[in-house]
């Protein structure tokens, strides 16, 4: 599966991040490997997604990729260069090329800066555009993300969650990046708004030739957006595969369990299955051998002692399981959504057709734009 370097925009090699905390007995400091020996390649132009349950290390991995966090061990290569040992100018270029979109559109924007100033800031640092050119580009970016140029003079608190996420995206685009890493960029949004932002990200990706690294826990969002997917469990990648094969035939028992736990939005597909019992073990004391073995229905004594290595499973897939071949013979957990009824199809098509002829964002009235604070978003 080795690709020529020019096709690999980001690589990680045995990337490890340990946090030390004082949670141990008697205040003894203990160390958590939030990310443990992760090696992966991200290809130029793809949407690469990382999925896994809470605490499995997704955000930590994402932050390592763009050097928002230093690695404890191993390396991240950007276009073939180790990002931990870059010269000043190279570092500046890295900051320009790799941009991050945060989950929480409410806390990631400085409330005292206008939207225009927020979007302009990265241009000041990374481009030699004149003041006037920057202003024009701010207006351009605002329209690109489906907002109005006039919004440049407003402050973030005057916008709704979906709009703030658009502002965050406009800001990420301002430096002219090659890669955007989104840490749950749509998780905090309502479904109808989430769909707007997903479409926007896809459009921008095509328009600006971006590589997208997407962190999410929503398996439907990932299915919709990704080219390839890495499944994480307790700091490690347990399976890595192209989109369709992963959903059609998950190989790793953990991926299979995840797939079976998805509630399918059809009353004819009531299939959600409790295939996993128990909780994710504490990362402070990860299980020996295969980290999944205490919850795995296929575990053998080998699994408790020997750590499975992420290895080639054919078809551009990788899996870290001692017994994947045997398990694959009667693979369960492929996701099946029953077909929709004729009436539903008909009306969905009608809705789509009708709504495409409206400008979704500009249709919002000025008064709607200013959302009074929603109680739970005040945090």
């Amino acid at each position: 599966m080795k690709l020529p370097t020019r096709d690999r925009i980001i690589e990680t090699r045995s990337l490890t991040k340990r946090f030390t905390s004082n949670k141990g007995l008697f205040g003894r400091s203990v160390s958590v490997s939030a990310v443990n020996e992760v090696s992966l390649d991200i290809r130029r132009g793809e949407t690469f997604s990382i999925v896994g349950e809470s605490g499995c290390g997704k955000s930590t991995l994402a932050r390592l990729l763009v050097r928002l966090l230093p690695a404890s061990e191993g390396a991240v290569l950007y276009e073939g260069n180790d990002i931990s040992s870059l010269s000043e100018p190279e570092m500046r270029r890295l900051r320009k090329d790799l941009q991050f979109v945060f989950q929480d559109p409410f806390s990631s924007l400085n409330p005292r800066m206008t939207v225009g100033a927020l979007i302009e800031e990265p241009m000041k640092v990374h481009t030699s555009l004149s003041r006037k050119e920057r202003r024009l580009k701010v207006a351009d970016l605002l329209t690109k993300v489906g907002l109005r140029a006039a919004f440049a003079n407003r402050y973030p608190h005057e916008f709704s969650g979906g709009q703030r996420q658009r502002i965050g995206i406009a800001r990420a685009l301002a430096s002219g990046p090659k890669v955007i890493v989104g840490d749950e960029p749509v998780s905090a949004l309502d479904v109808s708004v989430q769909a707007q932002v997903i479409n926007l990200l896809e459009d921008l990706k095509a328009e600006f030739d971006l590589t997208l690294v997407l962190i999410a826990h929503d398996l439907a969002v990932i299915r919709h957006m990704s080219d390839r997917i890495a499944v994480m469990y307790l700091g490690e990648i347990v399976e890595l595969a192209p989109n369709d094969p992963l959903y059609d035939k998950p190989l790793h028992p953990y991926t299979q369990a995840l797939m079976r736990a998805i509630p399918i939005a059809s009353p004819h597909g009531r299939s959600m299955d409790v295939s996993l019992t128990g909780d994710v073990p504490s990362p402070l004391a990860p299980p020996s051998g295969c980290r999944f073995h205490p919850r795995c229905p296929h575990a053998t004594s080998l699994c408790g002692t020997e750590k499975p290595v992420l290895s080639d499973a054919g078809g551009a897939r990788m899996v870290a399981c001692h017994h994947w071949e045997k398990i694959a013979e009667n693979s369960q957990g492929s996701v099946r959504e029953p077909p929709r009824s004729e009436n539903a199809e008909k009306r969905f098509a009608l809705f789509r057709e009708k709504s495409q002829r409206q400008e979704p964002v500009t249709a919002a009235t000025e008064t709607q734009i200013k959302l009074s604070e929603r109680s739970h978003n005040n945090a």
């Binding site: 109808s192 826990h217 939005a265 009353p267 009531r270 019992t277 959504e337 009306r347 057709e353 709504s355």
Partner: protein, 342 residues
């Protein structure tokens, strides 16, 4: 498939025309909603953030002070009593007893400084004539029933010693300790991972089967709705815009909001093109449209939608939608659309 519910059975809880207004607000936050649940039935209330799901639940539980949220109209019959008329005291006797609630964030209703066994026992002691030892016995039994491993060793745990999924189980144990006739669950799995969500939903369904408790489940997740509901109410901006049996809602969605919501959710099946979107966002109380509250976002809206509120009309067996133009294909034949679009 949903379980067989006797649709002629008398509802245990029947809400009629409930309207609520926050002090000083220019419009009702809940504006004339009606729904009912029967023994053993699961009713899902689905809608996006801010549409009034939690406010509805809290008002039924008597947890919204009347000084803050004024009841403008309606009844909520629980047996022969109207919950909206009960005194604080009478309501406190029912709460946690014959009608209970599970909250989205378990830490808000678990007291961090009490052992979980004592907290469950307390709920039993509050409502039943039992000794402390019997109440603790019941607590143990409930922890067992919600499948907390080694329950007896967990009685003395404090909430912070439990994982999110375990805390939610404790909440369920507490809510069901007195065999309530109605359980209101406000997004009980939203904060949980899918594998834990599957465990909790499975558990709720199993317990419901055993006890015949009527379940009102509040959620914004259509997958959860499809998985668990017998009947569904789709809520938008304080109105119920569509209700019906779960199969009708998914197979024969009638209201433009229901349709928009369903088609904007990505599917776990193979990709089928761009997602549909609903433009704009849920209106705030200060800018509540008169007439149909969905008008500013509705791709089908016509002039009269702005002024006249559509009634909930029967469109199928116990299936209703509040739209002047449902069924849409009759009002907007596809051919006309294509011509207009070209």
């Amino acid at each position: 498939m949903s379980k067989a519910i006797d649709l002629n059975a008398t509802p245990v809880l029947s809400v009629e025309n409930l309207a609520l207004r926050f002090k000083g607000a220019p419009a009702n936050i809940i504006d004339g909603i009606s729904f009912a649940v029967r023994p053993g039935e699961t009713l899902c209330i689905v809608g996006e953030s801010g549409c009034g799901k939690s406010v509805t639940a809290l008002s039924l539980m008597g947890l919204l002070p009347r000084s803050v949220a004024q009841i403008m109209s309606g009844t909520a019959m629980f047996g022969d009593r109207d919950l909206l008329e009960l005194s604080q005291r009478a309501m406190a006797d029912l709460r946690g007893n014959t009608i209970s609630m599970i909250f989205q964030e378990p830490m808000t209703s678990l007291n961090p400084s009490y052992k979980i066994g004592d907290q469950i026992a307390e709920v039993v002691l509050r409502h039943k004539h039992v000794t402390r030892a019997e109440a603790l016995q019941r607590a143990l039994q409930m922890l067992d029933r919600v499948k907390i491993p080694a329950a007896s060793s967990r009685l003395d745990d404090y909430p912070h010693e439990l994982s999110g999924g375990m805390r939610q189980r404790v909440m369920i144990a507490m809510a069901l300790a007195n065999d309530p006739a109605v359980l209101i669950a406000d997004e009980p799995t939203t904060a949980l991972d899918v594998t834990i969500q599957a465990q909790i939903i499975d558990l709720i369904e199993e317990l419901q089967k055993e006890t015949g408790t009527a379940l009102v489940m509040i959620t914004h997740d259509l997958g959860v709705v499809a998985e668990i509901a017998d009947r569904v109410c789709v809520m938008y901006a304080g109105h119920i815009v569509e209700d019906g049996p779960v199969e009708s809602i998914f197979d024969d969605p009638q209201h433009p909001y229901t349709i928009g919501l369903m088609s904007s959710v990505p599917s776990v099946g193979p990709r089928s093109g761009r997602l549909a979107t609903i433009g704009g966002m849920v209106p705030t109380i200060d800018h509540m449209p008169s007439g149909c509250r969905f008008t500013p976002r509705c791709p089908f809206a016509q002039a009269n939608c702005k002024t006249s509120p559509p009634p909930l009309d029967e469109l199928g067996p116990s299936h209703r939608a509040a739209c002047h133009y449902a069924p849409l294909e009759t009002a907007f034949p596809a051919t006309v659309l294509q011509e207009a679009g070209s």
